[in-house]
């Protein structure tokens, strides 16, 4: 059933651009990287890049095609949406993945393009477009998770700079980041209006990171401590007290990237569960997965996944034709999280104890990898606004349900 998963039909216009992209890829994309895409790089941290990877990143950075629709003047590709789709189609055809990514691309860049000053855009956007600078997110605090506006990390006005004191947590990739975009409190008397958006160098004196070890064994998140950290006022985005509005806009970018089509496509691109199940559980006399109950649950999962992919396709078609986001986008994060977690749980169950290996001999690479994915995947219904928070958003913003009086 390829139709459920395939994207839209190729764009007819722009054949000249397509030819240009093809030529460019032939000249610049190293064939050794064909089909290689480390979807877990955010979790595993930066690896030592091969010369081919370096060359590919540099080439993409120079054209700005890693961030194809960002303005050319700040190092983006300056492409139209149609051109950007052609680029994506041709990269997929060539087996090329985009080496420019991370939080700078997904969240911070689009937000700064909207709210930053001209100087800030000129300073910060080009290094993101070339993947020279890694950004991390200083939002959550130990006492401010889903209730983010309760944050306490304080920035005191000291004339030409702010003096920042406090703690952030769940700082993804904090130990590898060069810079941090953060929400701080500049006024303790107002909840939402007392928040300001700052950009902080991670090597500033007084910044300390402590990786948090997760149930999956990896440590992609940190606790980050700020003790008398000086942040120049030129590093404030927007006005003092405007941080909540800017910060929320950034969260929208975060959500749409978390539930976006390409990530979902990658998530489900592996071997079908039914095939894995036949291998581990065996088949009955009619060629069906031998465990009838498990088979039933695999069917349900498969149907859910198809429905999700069809909804992604519908939402993107609707967004294009009605000049705005479709109501369906509001459900994507929860559905995507549910399906991904369910797939992991089913994989564990299908394989029995072989699906629960931690390390060492006796387990296949996929078995070990899927255990980590299962454990790390528990985060997807928690980060970027937990499923409960998403449900609140659906109820209040989409369904117009009321606040508790």
């Amino acid at each position: 059933m390829a139709t459920a998963i395939e994207g839209d039909a190729p764009v007819d216009a722009g054949e000249a651009f397509r030819a240009k992209v093809r030529d460019w890829l032939a000249a610049n994309f190293p064939p050794s990287l064909k089909g290689k895409d480390n979807g877990m790089s955010a979790v595993e941290g930066p690896s030592e890049p091969t010369p081919d990877e370096d060359a590919w990143r540099k080439a993409m950075g120079e054209t700005g095609w890693g961030v194809p629709t960002w303005p050319k003047e700040y190092g983006g590709g300056g492409l139209s949406r149609a051109e950007s789709r052609i680029l994506q189609e041709e990269m997929t055809r060539a087996g090329a993945s985009n080496p420019i990514g991370g939080m700078g691309v997904m969240m911070f860049g689009p937000t700064l393009l909207e709210y930053g000053s001209e100087e800030q855009k000129r300073e910060h956007i080009p290094p993101i477009a070339r993947a020279e600078i890694r950004w991390c997110q200083g939002y959550s605090e130990p006492g401010a998770g889903s209730d983010l506006a309760s944050l306490q990390c304080f920035a005191e006005d000291r004339g030409d700079h702010y003096l920042v004191n406090g703690q952030k947590t769940w700082t993804s990739g904090g130990q590898w980041a060069d810079k941090c975009f953060m929400l701080v409190r500049t006024d303790r008397t107002k909840k939402h209006e007392g928040i300001t958006f700052l950009l902080c160098d991670m090597d500033s004196p007084g910044v300390e990171v402590k990786p948090i070890r997760l149930i999956s064994g990896s440590s992609p998140f940190c606790e980050t401590f700020f003790t008398d950290v000086k942040v120049p006022k030129t590093n404030r985005v927007g006005q003092e007290g405007e941080g909540w509005t800017i910060g929320k806009r950034l969260l929208q970018h975060e959500r749409s990237s978390l539930s976006g089509g390409s990530g979902a496509g990658r998530m489900f691109a592996g071997t079908p569960l039914s095939q894995i199940a036949k291998q581990y559980v065996g088949v009955d006399g009619e060629g069906r997965i031998a465990d009838a109950d498990l088979r039933g649950r695999i069917v349900r999962h498969e149907m859910d996944m198809r429905a999700f992919m069809l909804t992604l396709r519908r939402a993107s078609q609707e967004a294009k034709s009605n000049q705005g986001p479709s109501a369906a986008t509001s459900i994507m994060k929860n559905v995507g999280a549910r399906i991904m977690q369910e797939r992991s749980e089913l994989l564990i169950e299908i394989r029995g104890l072989a699906g629960l290996g931690w390390e060492g001999e006796g387990f296949g690479d996929e078995e070990l990898r899927d255990v980590r994915t299962w454990l790390f995947g528990k985060a997807v219904s928690i980060y970027g606004g937990s499923s409960e928070i998403q449900n609140n958003v659906i109820a209040k913003r989409i369904l117009g349900m009321l606040d508790h009086q």
Binding site: E302, T311, R313, A395, L399
Partner: protein, 356 residues
């Protein structure tokens, strides 16, 4: 909502407006309470035919508008919202059989009359209470059909039957050799038992595969009606929660209820995607129509089941009363869930087609 052509958008808006203004749920209530029972609303059917809906699948050359299944689905969805009781879905499903398997002569004889709304047609497949197209005992010998069909939708009023026999589909028209016995189900619609006793029958081309294709189209049409019902049941429930006050608060402000509504909204969005995808798959003649249809019906069944049950629960006592509309949605929902295969039947078929 699927991306529609200008023509489809106009059709959908017209259907929505007509259903809201001319055929609200009060019209269904009147039909239900009418004596003698009609099991459908003849005036509404006449109006639909005048708007061209009876011929929505029929090619223009034969007096229809030739718009396809997504368009049919748009209309049925709007009618589902207000529980409009007309034989549109049954007639369109039987029309599918004529379009796919009818000879030129058969098409010329029936399609113009169907498009004009002069003929109500329907499918007669099941011989038991559960959808089971694999078990058919009805036989045809020498052009005469003999067998019994249970729960035939619009069986009380149809003049043309597309009947499944052991060797394929047949057209049976008129009342020669046909005995009708009404079967009153909870939804107050028409579901007759039909006894064929040597009824004159004409074979349609296509054999077993034709039955599958026709049943898939009937199933997709049912899914569209279910989508409209689920949408309306959900919207009415959401409106009610905003007005009903308990413990000094609007029910709408309670998080436990908000999350239930958000869950239903999520399932509804997924349902819409799969139902529209199934209709589109039929229109574009994709090879995987059966799998798309099974996906749609399985999700449609579960979602409408959930939403109709929650409609009663969240309305509390008022939802239990006959005076309120919630019961209408609940009762019709269970009928459509059982017709054309329940969720597990379709999951099983989906799995088989997918090689599980």
């Amino acid at each position: 909502m699927a991306v529609l052509t200008e023509e489809q958008t106009m059709l959908r808006d017209m259907a929505r407006e007509w259903a809201d203004n001319e055929s609200p749920v009060t019209a269904f209530r009147r039909m239900r309470d009418a004596a003698p029972a009609t099991y459908y609303d003849p005036a509404a059917w006449e109006a639909q035919a005048a708007m061209g809906w009876a011929g929505i699948l029929v090619p223009e050359a034969q007096g229809g508008v030739g718009m396809g299944y997504l368009s049919l689905g748009m209309v049925l969805e709007q009618l589902g919202r207000t529980l409009t009781a007309t034989p549109l879905a049954a007639t369109a499903s039987a029309t599918s059989a004529l379009l796919l398997g009818g000879s030129e002569k058969q098409q010329a004889e029936w399609l113009p009359r169907i498009a004009a709304g002069e003929v109500i047609a329907t499918l007669a497949i099941d011989e038991g209470p559960r959808f089971d197209p694999a078990t058919i005992a009805t036989k045809v010998e020498g052009g005469r059909l003999t067998g019994t069909k249970l729960f035939v939708a619009e069986g009380d009023s149809a003049q043309l039957f597309v009947v499944a026999a052991s060797d394929g589909l047949y057209l049976v028209s008129g009342d020669e050799g046909v005995t009708r016995s009404p079967r009153k189900l909870t939804d107050s619609r028409s579901h007759a038992e039909l006894r064929f006793d040597g009824a004159p029958a004409q074979k349609l081309e296509g054999g077993d595969d034709l039955l599958t294709q026709v049943a898939d189209r009937a199933t997709a049409a049912a899914c569209a009606e279910m989508l409209g019902m689920a949408e309306a049941a959900f919207a009415q429930t959401n409106d009610y929660l905003k007005t009903r006050v308990q413990f000094g608060q609007a029910l709408s402000s309670f998080q436990a209820l908000q999350h239930r509504m958000a869950k239903m909204f999520t399932e509804l969005e997924l349902m819409r995607s799969v139902v529209e995808a199934a209709l589109e798959a039929i229109d574009s003649g994709r090879a995987n129509v059966s799998q798309e249809v099974s996906l749609a019906k399985a999700l449609a069944n579960e979602t409408l089941h959930l939403v109709s049950r929650e409609m009663v629960q969240l309305h509390g006592g008022i939802g239990m009363t006959d005076e309120h509309d919630a019961g209408f949605y609940l009762k019709r929902a269970r009928i459509l869930e059982a017709m054309w295969g329940n969720a597990s039947w379709h999951r099983e078929r989906f799995a088989r087609l997918g090689g599980f």
